[in-house]
């Protein structure tokens, strides 16, 4: 059972990194205090109790969920689009979400409003992209048309976002928009988790269920159909699930790039291309990756660094490495 042991090893690493991460932060937590909190659920230090339960724990769970879901949707998208270069925002979900959030910030809506607008913006962008590809029709390569529609919508919403930034108050609103676009896990609270975790489950479970069929889909439309896979139906399931998950995460964290592009490569390198194992491995790798990135974000310098900046700085050299490797052999 090579695959089972791989999953177990990943779970072990994830637990160790979690344990390490929960102790990191401005308020120092001694290993002894952490252990007694973990074993009893209480702490003699009231501050510690509040910090661990209300701030660190939600942030930890949020990081694992966000990284995991982004990486898993990325892996599913790469399989479906038959292209290892796509990421979960290929159909415009990030730019749609960015526009939605900026609009909400401009309208001075509360945090919940920003989340709602961002989620709706992300979903809307993908729906428009998919409808455009439908109107162009079946006579063309449908995957290519879909990707091109996504690029069109991304760039359109990017332009709309620029317009909002241009008219935003430069002392107050513009920094808020800019900061939101850089991404951060700092504001995730327990209340957010009760909303995003069910959505993440709702999006992740269908992807796991169709994972075997994703393998077949990566041979192309005609071959997949002749092997008995309903390609249209598969596309609906994968796009819907990945979009739901990505829009939901972006709505609470802001835009976090690169995770959905890089982590599936790393996972494929270790677990192989079979999506049955690749999807859960991507999820666990994504969770570990995001925890480490978030640890760096909150501990490298005295002010917190937006997480999107770190994922990009770490992601770029990773990607160059994979490109170099792929120049020699296949993905």
């Amino acid at each position: 059972m090579k695959s089972l042991s791989l999953i177990l090893i990943c779970l072990l690493i994830l637990s160790l990194v979690s344990l390490f991460s929960i102790g990191i932060g401005r308020y120092p937590v001694s290993p002894g205090a952490l252990f007694s909190w973990l074993s009893t659920g209480h702490s003699s230090d009231d501050n510690l109790q509040v910090i661990l339960f209300n701030i660190r724990l939600p942030r930890l769970i949020g990081a694992i969920a966000a990284g995991g879901a982004l990486a898993m949707s990325g892996a599913a998208y790469q399989g479906m689009f038959r292209n290892p270069m796509v990421s979960p925002d290929i159909l415009g979900v990030s730019s749609g979400a960015g526009f939605g959030a900026a609009l909400a910030i401009l309208l001075s809506l509360p945090v919940a409003g920003i989340q709602l607008f961002s989620f709706a913006g992300g979903i809307t962008a993908v729906l428009i992209a998919v409808s455009i590809s439908k109107t162009i029709g079946r006579s063309h390569d449908s995957v290519l048309v879909l990707v091109l529609s996504g690029i069109i919508i991304s760039s359109l919403f990017g332009a709309l976002l620029s317009m909002l930034k241009y008219i935003a108050d430069p002392d107050d609103k513009l920094p808020a928009i800019t900061y939101w676009l850089m991404g951060s896990l700092a504001n995730i609270r327990m209340n957010d988790l009760w909303i995003i975790l069910p959505v993440l489950f709702a999006g992740s479970i269908p992807l796991m269920l169709v994972s075997w069929r994703l393998n077949v889909l990566s041979f192309g439309e005609d071959e997949a159909r002749s092997l008995g896979v309903n390609t249209g139906w598969m596309r609906v399931v994968v796009i819907l699930s990945a979009t739901l998950v990505t829009a939901c995460i972006i709505s609470v964290s802001g835009i976090i790039g690169w995770v959905g592009l890089i982590v599936p490569h790393l996972a494929r390198f270790i677990a192989g291309p079979n999506h049955r194992l690749l999807l859960p491995t991507s999820f666990l790798f994504g969770g570990i990756f995001m925890l480490v990135v978030d640890d760096i974000a909150r501990s490298l310098v005295s002010v917190e660094i937006p997480i999107g900046i770190i994922t990009a700085i770490l992601g770029a050299p990773f990607f160059i490495y994979f490109l170099k490797r792929s120049a020699k052999k296949s993905w």
Partner: protein, 267 residues
Amino acid sequence: MVIERTISLDLSRADLGYEGRVVLHNVNLSIQSGEIVCLLGPNGVGKTTLFKTILGFIKPLAGSIVIDGRNIAQFALKDFARLVAYVPQVHNSPFPYKVRDVVLFGRTVHLGLFASPRQKDRDIANSFLDLLEIQHLAERPFTELSGGERQMVIIARALTQEAKFIILDEPTSNLDYGNQVRVIRKIKALKKQSVGILMATHSPDHAFMIGSKVVVMDKGSLYRYGTPEATLTEETLKKIYGVDVHVFDTPQNGTSPRKICAPVMDL
């Protein structure tokens, strides 16, 4: 060994093509499970259109395509894939699946919607790796195989699908001479598998080597149907390909007798 019932795939009075453009007119063709039919014709004559229609990718403009007494328009995708398998001309996957897994993908149609293969499915895939003598490739990445090896793997996948008919689109294109012969030999040996094979080829010699039925296509319709010896005459080859070809008997030196083609080179 269970003797399986013969199933037939019939096209009758079918017009094939795309919206507003008939490529093949009044096609009548019947293939039985257990026989191999080679399809010959010049480039652009409509072989791909015929294949796409039989595979259900495009609908016939008129007439019907019937498998085992049922019109293929009535089949659900899944039921259809249990009857007809497809070996396309080019195979590419961007991901380096193991050969064993690629063959196993043939089982997908026999699995539940959310299921993955069981031991029984692995055994079936394995038996076809043995049959095609590619067991030694099993653990290698599909993407790193040669063209001939990939062709064998995809044929194994089609057999693993356990369909009644297999449509092979020019299985020897892009293969070197040795691999062409090896692939043709394997295809000929598949007669024992009680599966019906429709195979497009550009080489009349391949049809002679396989020695089964031949369909010759010419502009707009099926031109001739029959045994290779009766169908692939010098006149027919001249008519469809526009070049002079001599057809000889092989010399009596050990190989089983058959015809071979030699294009005329003196101008």
